[in-house]
């Protein structure tokens, strides 16, 4: 049995089901990320593991002990809350040392102080120890809250969007710090986020959650390269993957994908031909990542689709163009030097060996194979 195990766990609040029959395993020492949009039930799962929310049905085990009916203080876990949940009437030092005071046999005040200083050092908040939470900035609060979570040595760390409220720069910095901290932790970590970048960069495995249900569990590479359906594909990557509705047709001697209005056309690569051909008469979705499209002023050969730029975002080392081709708009990532103005006529080629195919219901049926490179 896995170290932490959720078996058919359901959580209902009145008539609404927040978590719907979720089964999930997390091994000893594993860093598991639960990824999902707001309201997917991520926080409810963490709170049930921590023992602060009742479990409507199902079972949760930690180290083969069933914890369904245990009080929070009887469960060996620590948690960082999305809202920080710092104790307003205590200084940063008191906040950090609060969890240590429940350790039995009791720690001496010297030990507690040494440990609090150590964790403060790690998170760069040593100079804030005498302050009250109301005197801290958002980023500082979040680090204190993370510190309070890390200060003990429990069997499981639960982190609920611990860095989501930071501004972009600080968030990247904290992500790097977390990655460093992660290597020092021997316990399991269950980490909740809605940011796919965080999940890709930190996770050993990712569980994608939507509307209370697990959609897919896998390594970051699995999820990015072989998303189980359009939901996971859309979640992974920015700008979002382009989903073009269309069908498979035989043209001359090659098999091609054409969009519903026949404006986006590309030939099917050999590697997926056999799988895709079976869907010949059905509606399909082609999942085209924005970096699987080449954009140019002139068509360099046949097989280029003509379009018009409706929006461009110049980001420096890369640019995002929204190109309207017939009835569909494709997000295209181009190199830093390739900038096309709004309303400019352009030609795009789809790297068909990197396209993902989904059936009408949105489930993946084939991946072009070369989906591993790039952003």
């Amino acid at each position: 049995m896995a170290f932490i195990s959720l078996v058919d766990v359901t959580k209902r609040y009145g008539a609404t089901t927040a978590v719907d029959c979720v089964s999930l395993d997390c091994d000893r020492g594993e860093f598991l990320v639960i990824l999902g949009p707001a309201g997917a039930g991520k926080t409810s799962i963490l709170k049930m593991i921590a023992g602060i929310e009742d479990i409507t049905s199902g079972e949760i085990f930690i180290d083969s002990t069933k914890i369904n009916h245990l009080a929070p203080h009887a469960i060996d876990a620590s948690m960082a809350f999305e809202t920080y949940a710092l104790y307003p009437h205590m200084t940063v030092f008191e906040n950090l040392s609060f969890p240590l005071k429940t350790i039995r046999p009791k720690w001496s005040s010297v030990e507690i102080e040494r440990r609090a200083n150590e964790i403060a050092e790690l998170l760069g908040i040593r100079n804030l120890l005498d302050r009250y939470p109301s005197e801290l900035s958002g980023g500082q609060k979040q680090r204190v809250s993370l510190g309070r979570c890390l200060i003990k040595d429990p069997k499981v760390y639960l982190m609920d969007e611990p860095i989501s409220h930071l501004d972009a720069k600080l968030r990247h910095e904290m992500r790097r710090q977390l990655k460093r901290i992660k290597d020092r932790l021997s316990a399991s970590v269950i980490y909740v986020t809605h940011d796919y970048m965080e999940s890709l960069s930190l996770a050993d495995r990712i569980a994608v959650l939507n509307k209370g249900k697990i959609v897919q569990i896998g390594t970051p590479a699995d999820l990015y390269q072989r998303p189980a359906n359009t939901f996971v594909a859309s979640l992974m990557g920015y700008p979002k993957i382009n989903l073009v509705e269309g069908s498979i047709e035989q043209r001359k001697n090659s098999l091609v994908f054409t969009s519903a209005d026949s404006t986006v056309v590309f030939s099917i690569p050999g590697s997926v031909k056999a799988t895709v051909e079976k869907q010949k008469n059905n509606t399909l979705f082609a999942g085209i990542r924005p970096n699987a499209v080449v954009i140019s002023q002139v068509p360099e050969s046949s097989g280029w689709n003509k379009g018009r730029v409706v929006l461009n975002e110049v980001l420096g080392y890369r640019n995002i163009h929204h190109v309207k081709i017939g009835g569909s708009v494709l997000n295209v990532i181009s190199k830093g030097k390739e900038i096309f103005d709004k309303n400019h006529e352009v030609y795009v080629r789809i790297k068909s060996d990197r396209v993902l195919f989904f059936d009408k219901a949105g489930n993946e049926i084939a991946a072009g194979g070369r989906n591993d490179d790039g952003y």
Binding site: A50, A71, F81, Y84, P88, P99
Partner: protein, 304 residues
């Protein structure tokens, strides 16, 4: 040329500043005028009584109220030490007893209400249980009916239970005043604490009782102080319970003050002195805890 433009610019900003400041000033003047007006309205009766307590009975009943008079502490002396002095015919040294009664009953009532009301308020704020809202509403409903409406049945019950004219009985009946107040106000303060703060403490390894004493209680402390004072004032000012359910041994000061009116005469001077002494504890408490009163009323700062 350039210089003069610069100068004009400076003047302009200076005027701008002045006009802004004047507006601010006139606003402040209005605010202060309002405050003064209110203070005159609120404090006039108190000042009148204070002056009255320092006059001799002869000065008090003079048909043109005397503004200038030679102040005397005779009324206070008579009241506290029972010394008969010129001008006062009868002394009422019982007043000290009534004052002590007030202190015992009111303090007892507030402490009892806090001991019962704080856990009750916390339970109503945090726990889910059957009939929760009905129970909360029942507590509030104690304040709906005027006391005079229930006083006769309570009197009968008290006679039967031998609670009539006892401190315990008085403290119990005062719960009707203090308990609903404390439960309802404290419930609001407890609800204002983000629930995740308490959840965090529970995950940190504390039982709910410890979370209550180490997190919830310290966080509502300012609210607690203001609520306790408020209920103390309500209880201290009560008249009807003492009048009907008490006798000479347990009369509070409010009822005691009535004793200065008798068939033969009204002892205005002593009555005024008694009133001054009666409001003293409230003034002292409010003065010392006004810091809490203010922060208690603006407790939103608790959030993250």
């Amino acid at each position: 040329m350039g210089k003069s433009r610069q100068k004009r610019g400076q003047e302009l900003t200076m005027y701008g500043k002045i006009s802004g400041e004047t507006r601010k000033k006139s606003q402040t003047v209005f605010v202060y005028a309002g405050i003064v007006l209110f203070l005159v309205f609120a404090l006039f009766p108190i000042i009148w009584i204070l002056l009255m307590s320092l006059k001799t009975d002869k000065d008090i009943i003079s048909s043109v109220p005397k503004i200038f008079f030679s102040p005397t502490l005779d009324n206070y002396k008579t009241l506290i030490f029972g010394i008969k002095s010129a001008g006062s015919e009868i002394s009422r040294p019982d007043f000290i007893l009534y004052f002590k009664n007030s202190l015992i009953i009111t303090t007892g009532a507030v402490l009892t209400s806090l001991a019962v009301g704080i856990p009750a308020a916390y339970a109503l704020a945090r726990f889910k249980f059957k009939l929760k809202e009905d129970i909360a509403f029942t507590f509030l409903s104690f304040r709906f009916a005027p006391e005079i409406a229930v006083i006769i049945p309570i009197f009968t019950i008290y006679k039967m239970l031998f609670l009539y004219n006892t401190y315990i009985g008085m403290i119990l009946v005062y719960q009707l005043i203090t308990l609903p107040l404390i439960i309802w106000i404290m419930r609001g303060y407890f609800e204002d604490i983000p629930v995740e703060i308490e959840q965090a403490a529970r995950v940190d390894g504390y039982s709910w009782l410890k979370v209550f004493s180490k997190i919830a209680l310290p966080l509502v402390k300012p609210g607690l102080a203001s609520t306790a004072i408020l209920s103390f004032i309500f209880a201290w000012n009560n008249f009807i319970f003492g009048l009907v359910l008490g006798a000479k041994e347990t009369f509070p000061a409010t009822v005691g003050t009535l004793g200065f009116i008798s068939y033969e005469s009204v002892l205005w001077g002593q009555m005024a002195a008694a009133s001054m002494i009666t409001i003293l504890p409230e003034i002292i408490i409010a003065f010392f805890i006004q810091k809490y009163l203010v922060s208690g009323l603006s407790m939103g700062a608790i959030r993250g």
